[in-house]
């Protein structure tokens, strides 16, 4: 199937500053795709280029098989949900949603049917005549979403639309957004700097950094098998163990980390002796116990800090060589760990190995 959106060798620079650096990206129809990255990584610029508000310095953007690189925003079949919603303050909810429909040349009857249908989708039928100022944040969010969906765009672009909401509402809206995407079957292109949002909703996450794509994949892969230090750090909490290869054969590599020998799966890297690698060790993969574990990697450590976080407790454990490891313990297990001295253990297959790019050159 042909992708709905294709960025082909897209570059965008402002003077000397390069915002987007040779971006190549295809988006399949009906998918929830998230561009994730820190501010200034080029994700918003990419979105605005697709929306037509920025013109690429070079490259081509294809939308449903047509070149739209230089088509103005009002002539392309994409719609944006803006960060601060940008609802028209002088128009009622219904008129806001009807705006794009009228400009498409729909007659009154048809506009009305579509508006009612969309309002029903988000249960805002009773708010049709209200002004945006009379709505709550979540309701405004929904109206903005419906206004952008109304003209039936090929792709719906969402520019950090949840950032203005408080934490609880944000979680609720994440679920709702995903549900609406599934119900309507629309392609969503979502931009955020919040990794949790990305993990919750996306079919595909595109991690961007300094104008380039760092890694792209489904949430599971990105979390479980980050391809770079940046991705490992950006998505979820991580312990990064910079280690030296002692020996490597097939699926098993023996590594030296701070004078401790650990094993990991090099995942096809085939590293040589003496090479440096990063081992990505997620806090929840570490098992903390009072007694020495029998299998897998194991290290003795001292608890330096306990942070209670409600559904779990975070332990900062100092291990040999003075390094700190971040671990995660369930409330039921915390009681057993009364002593400061504990054992940390993990299975080699729960870790991922990333080459140390700098050391290789």
């Amino acid at each position: 199937m042909e992708p709905v959106v294709q960025f082909e060798n897209i570059n965008k620079s402002y003077g000397k500053h390069v915002a987007v650096d040779n971006l190549n990206l295809s988006i399949e129809a009906g998918k929830f795709v998230t561009l994730l990255g820190p501010s200034g990584c080029g994700k918003s610029t990419s979105l605005r280029m697709l929306g037509g508000f920025e013109t690429p310095t070079s490259g081509r953007i294809m939308l449903s098989g047509k070149d739209v690189t230089r088509v103005p925003p009002n002539k392309r079949n994409v719609n944006i949900v803006f960060q601060d919603y940008a609802l028209f303050p002088h128009m009622s909810v219904a008129k806001n949603i009807a705006f794009g429909l009228e400009l498409k040349g729909f007659d009154n009857q048809r506009i009305h049917r579509r508006v009612s249908e969309l309002l029903e989708l988000v249960q805002l039928q009773d708010y049709a005549n209200r002004l945006p100022a009379e709505l709550s944040g979540g309701q405004r969010q929904r109206v903005a979403l419906m206004r952008a969906l109304a003209p039936d765009p090929d792709v719906l672009l969402l520019d950090e639309p949840l950032s203005a909401l408080d934490a609880k509402l944000r979680q609720q809206m994440q679920i709702e957004l995903k549900a609406i995407q599934e119900k309507t079957g629309k392609t969503f292109m979502f931009v955020t700097h919040d990794q949790e949002e990305a993990l919750t909703m996306s079919d595909t996450i595109v991690v961007m950094n300094k104008g380039r794509i760092e890694q792209m994949g489904d949430p599971n892969t990105l979390y479980g098998r980050p391809g770079s230090v940046f991705v490992a750090n950006f998505i979820g909490e991580t312990n990064l163990l910079r280690s030296t290869v002692i020996s490597s054969k097939g699926d098993v590599a023996a590594l030296n980390w701070n004078g401790i020998t650990i094993t990991a799966n090099p995942g096809g890297l085939d590293p040589r002796h003496g090479e440096h690698l990063y081992v990505v060790l997620r806090p929840e993969a570490i098992h903390c116990s009072a007694a020495e574990p029998v299998l897998g990697n194991r290290i003795k450590g001292k608890i330096r800090q306990r942070v209670f976080k409600g559904n779990h407790t975070s332990l900062m454990v100092e291990v040999a060589g003075g390094a700190m490891l971040n671990t995660l313990v369930h409330p039921s297990d915390v009681a057993q760990l009364s002593s400061e001295d504990i054992w940390l253990g993990w299975k080699p297959e729960t870790t991922t190995v990333i080459p140390d790019r700098h050391a290789q050159n």
Binding site: P73, N74, F82, Q83, A86, F88, P89, F99, R147
Partner: protein
């Protein structure tokens, strides 16, 4: 306000404020009172009271014509100034415009040129383009005078406008013109309304430009000026009172409308 300002300055200032209000309102009150004097000459004390002067003014054809003429000129210049002022403001806030400061300075120029000089220069200007003195010239002069105020009011409002609104309209299929008329203009609405009322008052009030640009048909200020120079009579007071009450009511109404719009 629970600050530590002691009471003595506060009382003094309060008294000063009311004294100032008295200073502002006393002459106008006296002028209005005199319009009810039952005598042919303007002098205190008033003695007998009458409404005859109002009856006389309302039958004064010259006065009624001057009123209509002034309103016509005010309407024309307000319409032109609002359109031009908004247009200039849109240009000033537009993306990627070079020389923004120069455009703004030029837009404000008529506001810093003293009235008399502005009138003279306009008089010379219309003669160099062979425009006769009269209605068109007055409207042109009043428009030049009013444009800076509209520009400033529109700019203030435009700067408070979320930048995304126009983007959103464009995104939903509106071209630049549609976005302006459907989104920007309604957003400007209350500010422009206030500006328009201000332009009307400015035009009706203007004497010096009208004096130099006008023909033989007198506007309200010109009529009053001629009458005052011709000799005092309570009739002038009645005329002035009517004008004052009407303009104050319009001003108050505009104040009310813009204030309500601002709190929304």
């Amino acid at each position: 306000m629970r600050n530590m300002v002691s009471d003595a300055p506060r009382t003094t200032l309060t008294a000063f404020y009311w004294a100032f209000i008295l200073y502002l309102l006393l002459p106008l009150t006296l002028m209005m009172a005199m319009s009810f004097k039952d005598a042919n000459f303007v002098a205190f004390p008033i003695g007998d009271w009458t409404l005859d002067w109002y009856a006389k003014v309302m039958q004064d054809k010259q006065f009624l014509e001057a009123c209509l003429y002034s309103i016509m000129i005010a309407a024309g210049s307000t319409l032109a100034a609002t359109t031009l002022g908004t247009w200039i403001a849109m240009l000033i806030v537009a993306d990627g415009i070079r020389g923004r400061t120069i455009i703004f300075a030029l837009a404000c120029l008529p506001a810093v040129v003293p009235g008399m000089i502005s009138a003279i220069s306009l008089r010379i200007f219309i003669s160099t383009i062979d425009m006769p003195t009269g209605t068109m010239a007055i409207i042109l002069g009043h428009t030049v005078h009013a444009v800076p105020f509209v520009v400033v009011m529109a700019l203030t409002r435009l700067r408070s406008m979320p930048g995304n609104l126009v983007d959103a309209a464009r995104d939903l299929g509106a071209d630049g013109i549609v976005a302006f008329f459907r989104v920007t203009l309604p957003y400007l609405g209350p500010a422009l309304f206030g500006g328009m009322i201000f332009c009307v008052l400015l035009s009706i009030d203007d004497f010096v430009r009208t004096f130099f640009l006008g023909g033989y048909r007198p506007t309200l200020p010109m009529l009053i000026f001629a009458k005052v120079q011709g000799g005092m009579s309570p009739e002038i007071n009645a005329m002035a009172t009517i004008v004052l009450v009407v303009t104050a009511a319009v001003g108050l109404y505009a104040e009310f409308i813009t204030r309500r719009a601002r709190t929304r």
